[in-house]
């Protein structure tokens, strides 16, 4: 049981790292600010590479979140309680997944979203990402667990 929890945490941390990195790489900033010049980081300036990486990380994240949700509902809901920080984190994560999935759908051929919808989705996704980072760092620094 303990091993499963640790594995879950590692997968979540690695996924969160790559999804955030590849997400920020969607903006043309890594080339401008020399990050892509660091040996081994050149791929951060290749938009198609980071786009694919973002999608792969999103697939892992959605699978993991579904697993945790079902596991909580059937196995752990009587054993653990979600904290206020946990509810905030879950809400932000859910928002990121919903806006992200809509953006993936928007990127398919012959799908037209209204211009305002696209701008709102882009900005909401970015804002929620910043919020998730804030909640995650707050949880780590202040040692606030999402469940007790």
């Amino acid at each position: 049981m303990k091993t499963t929890g640790k594995t879950r945490k590692y997968i979540y941390t690695i996924t969160l790292f790559f999804i955030t990195l590849s997400g920020f790489a969607q903006m043309p900033i890594f080339k401008r600010y020399y990050i892509a010049d660091i040996p081994g980081f050149g791929w951060l300036a290749q938009f198609y590479v980071t786009h694919i990486m973002h999608y792969i990380a999103a697939i892992v994240l959605i699978a993991l979140v579904t697993y945790i949700l079902i596991d909580f509902m059937f196995n752990r809901s009587r054993l653990i309680k979600i904290t206020r920080t946990g509810y905030l984190g879950i809400l932000v994560l859910a928002g990121l997944i919903v806006t992200g999935v809509l953006m993936v759908f928007k990127n398919l051929s012959n799908i037209y979203f209204g211009h305002t919808t696209i701008i709102v989705l882009d900005l909401t996704h970015l804002s929620l990402c910043m919020m998730l980072l804030f909640v995650s760092f707050y949880s780590v620094i202040r040692k606030k667990s999402w469940v007790i």
Binding site: T4, Q26, M27, P28, I29, K31, R32, Y33, Y34, F47, Y48, H51, I52, Y55, I56, A58, I59, V60, I62, A63, L64, V65, T66, Y67, I68, L69, I70, D71, F74, N75, G95, V98, T99, V101, L102, V104, F105, K106, N107, L108, S109, N110, I111, Y112, F113, G114, H115, T116, T117, I118, I119, V120, L121, D122, L123, T124, S127
Partner: protein, 322 residues
């Protein structure tokens, strides 16, 4: 012409917009746009054999779109790091018409080829291909580029920050940047953005009024035709059969809304034309968004995998309990 949006207004608007999305407009509008009945995209057909290279289309394009051209503020703000942010200024070179620039969205490319043992010169009007699934629109991080249901794609000069990602991901490198104009001037001009990207918008404002794009109207040789996709594709194939010719644009980048028909193979034309900055190639182009589309399909399986793993765990633990 770009209208000015203050930094405060932009941030205020962004925060308000971000706050309201989950609850109301964003998803609702998205759902509405998904369910709306689809309009067949408009496609342009260019019969290269008819083009005489008179450049009437180029001048008509410039005249029709003159009020959309940038009027940069000089001196340009210093942009950091200076070695990484090139100043791209075309405002003193507005008369350049032998390539794409922020002030010239259509130009004529010249090619020579042998047809029936005879050397002929061909001229090819070149501009944005208006892809079916345009990477410039789909991958723009701010939603500054948009695709309309009639198939055209265009860049909003009021929102574009000039990061040039659209150009990097465009298989033909079509958009061109003008520094010193647009929204970035009102945000953090020293550290983010570098102007506005410009390209053919297929005269969206004329199409809205029921008129055809200026380049089509001005052509004395009727090189271009515009119409619904199915109709134009039928015409293109009939024309290609008739001249024993070749088609470009139907399958490039997964399909575009610009179809060229030529009496000469496009591989030959591609060898002959001058290529480089502002002068797009005529290579075969794979579907740049295909990997993303395949992964999007795989994404449907992600929650199923999650559910299966959770039930697997539940099954194993209940077996252990017994």
């Amino acid at each position: 012409m770009t209208s000015k949006i203050s930094r405060r207004a932009f941030l205020k608007g962004s925060i308000t917009a971000a706050g309201s999305v989950v609850a109301t407009t964003g998803i609702a509008r998205a759902a509405k746009s998904i369910t709306r009945e689809k309009q067949e995209p408009l496609v342009t057909l260019l019969d290269i054999s008819k083009c005489i290279g008179c450049e009437e289309c180029v001048f008509a394009c410039q005249q029709a779109n003159a009020d959309k051209y940038p009027e940069p503020e000089k001196p340009f703000p210093k942009m950091y790091p200076t070695s990484k942010v090139p100043v791209e200024d075309w405002s003193d070179k507005k008369d350049v018409i032998d390539r794409l620039t922020p002030y010239n969205w259509l130009f004529i490319q010249h090619a020579s080829a042998i047809v029936n043992g005879e050397q002929i010169d061909l001229t090819i009007p070149r501009r944005c291909m208006h892809c079916d699934n345009p990477p410039c629109v789909k991958l723009c991080p701010w939603g500054s580029a948009k695709q309309e249901e009639n198939g055209l794609s265009r860049i909003d000069p009021d929102l574009c920050l000039g990061g040039s990602k659209c150009k990097t991901v465009c298989p033909w490198k079509i958009p061109e940047r003008q520094t010193g104009t647009g929204l970035y001037l009102n945000l953090l001009p020293a550290f983010a953005g570098n102007g506005v990207m410009y390209k053919c918008d297929r005269c969206y404002n004329r199409l809205e009024k029921g008129e055809v794009p200026a380049c089509i109207e001005a052509c004395p040789e009727d090189v271009q035709t515009i119409g619904p996709r199915s109709e134009i594709l039928k015409k293109a194939h009939a024309l290609a059969r008739e001249m024993n010719g070749y088609i470009y644009g139907e399958n490039e980048n997964g399909g575009t809304n610009t179809i060229y028909v030529s009496p000469v193979p496009f591989e030959e034309l591609n060898k002959s034309i001058e290529k480089g900055k502002g002068k797009p190639h005529l290579n075969k182009v794979k579907d740049m968004m295909a990997d993303g589309t395949n992964l999007a399909k795989a994404m449907i399986l992600a929650p199923i995998a999650g559910v299966a793993a959770a039930f697997g765990k539940f099954y194993l633990s209940s077996k252990e309990d017994k």
